[in-house]
């Protein structure tokens, strides 16, 4: 069982492969102690406490031994490191003239020795740096001066180029605007063409509808004619029927007049019979019978007459309504004809409209084409102008860029100068031997 030994907090950054001497020392010490302890523990059974307390005692013992050992070692090491640390701190404050004491031959002494070399080389480098910084500062300063001059000249070119570019831009803008106008024009022409096309479509649609309507009207007219013929036929039939009813009426009138005459005849016969005396009694009776018969006939005839009147009235109204129907059909026919006529008129109109719309569309097309051409021309112009402008811009930009880079250079130079100044200043903080 390898009991965990005491932990060491070794500061980071110090890492080397291989085992240092220190470490070998530490390890040897630690192992000895541990061994002793363990022998003790095993050899002395009586020293073995109860199971619970004894491991704990072991651990505590281990710990105590271990810790004690660790502290001892570390104290030895730490004393040296602390001394290094305070030297480093002074160096960090800029004093590179501080010497580091080297003591011993172990690793800490190696450390101290390396440290001291390092400080020394560092000091040499820093001196070189300081010198370089000084020269840089000088060059920087002259560079800055030159760049300023160039800058100024470049700015003048840039401005001129910019002006050109702007002019080119303006032209390009104008052209662009014209182009835009043309495009607008084209656009509206397009819209007109569109409308014309839609009108045409609408007109064709209307034409189609008108055709359909006219066809329907004609069909309706034919249908009405058919109806009208049928109604006329019925009217004729009713007329015929009415004629028959009239015939009946005439016959009935005749019968009635006959009955009336018979009635009177019978009365006159009775008169004559009364004059003829007794022998005519029988005749008088017959005459009376005839009179009664005539009255009956009259009664029946009246009935027939009233029925016939009803029929006639009925057929009159039928005939009338048929005639009304015929008339209505005629009127409807007229309306239909008129509708057909107006459909035809519409058709004519739409045909005209369609023609005109097509004309407009064609014109629009033509215009669009022309506008397109104009547009292209304009585009070319624009492109050329733009190219010019861009060229000029580029020149300008280039100039500007140049200027800009000049400026950047200048700025960089300035920056460099500043940095070198800053470096110098920094270096100035370090106390160097010289």
């Amino acid at each position: 069982m390898d009991a965990p030994g005491p932990r060491l907090h070794i500061p980071a950054g110090v890492h080397r492969s291989g085992v240092t001497i220190v470490q070998k020392k530490l390890a040897a010490s630690f192992l000895l102690v541990s061994f002793l302890c363990t022998v003790v523990a095993v050899a002395v059974p009586r020293l073995q406490p109860d199971p619970v307390w004894s491991p704990a005692l072991m651990v505590c013992l281990d710990l105590a031994i271990g810790l004690g050992g660790a502290w001892l070692v570390s104290w030895l090491v730490v004393r040296r490191i602390r001394a290094l640390a305070s030297a480093a701190s002074v160096i960090s404050k800029g004093d590179l003239t501080q010497a580091v004491a080297v003591e011993g031959a172990d690793e800490t002494a190696e450390l101290a020795r390396a440290f001291s070399t390092m400080v020394g080389s560092l000091l040499g480098v820093l001196k070189e740096v300081r010198e370089g910084a000084e020269s840089i500062h000088e060059s920087a300063r002259s560079l800055s001066r030159t760049s300023s001059e160039v800058n100024a000249a470049t700015e003048g070119i840039a401005e001129a180029a910019h002006a050109i570019a702007c002019g080119a831009d303006t032209q390009a803008d104008d052209v662009a605007r014209t182009s835009t106008l043309t495009r607008d024009l084209t656009g509206s022409v397009n819209r007109i063409a569109e409308s014309a096309r839609s009108v045409q479509e609408a007109a064709e649609d209307a034409a189609a509808r008108a055709n359909a309507g006219a066809a329907a009207a004609r069909r309706a007219a034919e249908g009405i004619v058919g109806v009208s013929n049928a109604v006329n036929a019925s009217a004729d039939a009713v007329d015929g029927f009415q004629g028959q009813a009239d015939e009946i009426g005439k016959i009935v009138t005749f019968i009635v007049s006959l009955a009336d005459q018979t009635h009177l005849l019978a009365i006159n016969a009775t008169i004559e019979a009364s004059r003829a005396g007794e022998e005519a009694r029988g005749f008088a009776v017959v005459a009376e019978e005839v009179r009664r018969l005539a009255d009956h006939v009259r009664g029946f005839a009246d009935q027939i007459s009233s029925v016939t009147e009803e029929i006639r009235g009925g057929s009159h109204s039928i005939a009338r309504s048929i005639r009304d129907g015929v008339r209505a059909a005629g009127e409807a026919r007229e309306l239909v004809d008129r509708a057909a006529a107006s459909f035809d008129a519409v058709l004519d109109a739409t045909r005209g409209t369609t023609e005109r719309a097509r004309g407009i569309a064609r014109g629009a097309e033509e215009q669009r084409r022309l506008a397109g051409q104009v547009d292209e021309a304009l585009e070319r112009i624009v492109r050329v102008a733009r190219d010019n402008a861009r060229g000029t811009e580029e020149t300008s930009n280039a100039t500007l860029g140049q200027t800009a880079s000049m400026q950047a250079l200048s700025a960089a130079a300035e920056d460099l100068a500043r940095t070198s100044d800053h470096l110098k200043n920094l270096l100035a903080t370090f106390r160097l031997r010289d």
Partner: protein, 125 residues
Amino acid sequence: MDLLYFRLGAAPYAIPLERVAEVAPAGPIHPVPLSPPAVLGLAERRGRPIAVIDLPRLLDREPAGGTVAHVVRLASPLDGAALWVPSEISSGTGTPAEAGHASIDGRDHLVLDTEALVKRAAAPL
């Protein structure tokens, strides 16, 4: 007795058949200027003119309208005189009742005196 009977308005009248020559439907009447007011005029009957007397007027009845009218031509001795009767006429037998009336089919009719009527009609008024 044998009678000719008819109604004028609501009143039933009768004429003895022996006083009657003929009953005919009323036809056109030609007025006679200066004739007595009860004479409607002349009508043609069997090729001869007969004088038509306004019976309703003589009997103080309203002149009837309507379409039915007969001319009752009287027999001898009143040949040529005729009574205008604006109603239907029938003939039949009646039983005499008092005061110039007769009952026909149970209804009471006033029997007219044709001679008196014609004489009255001749009066200028």
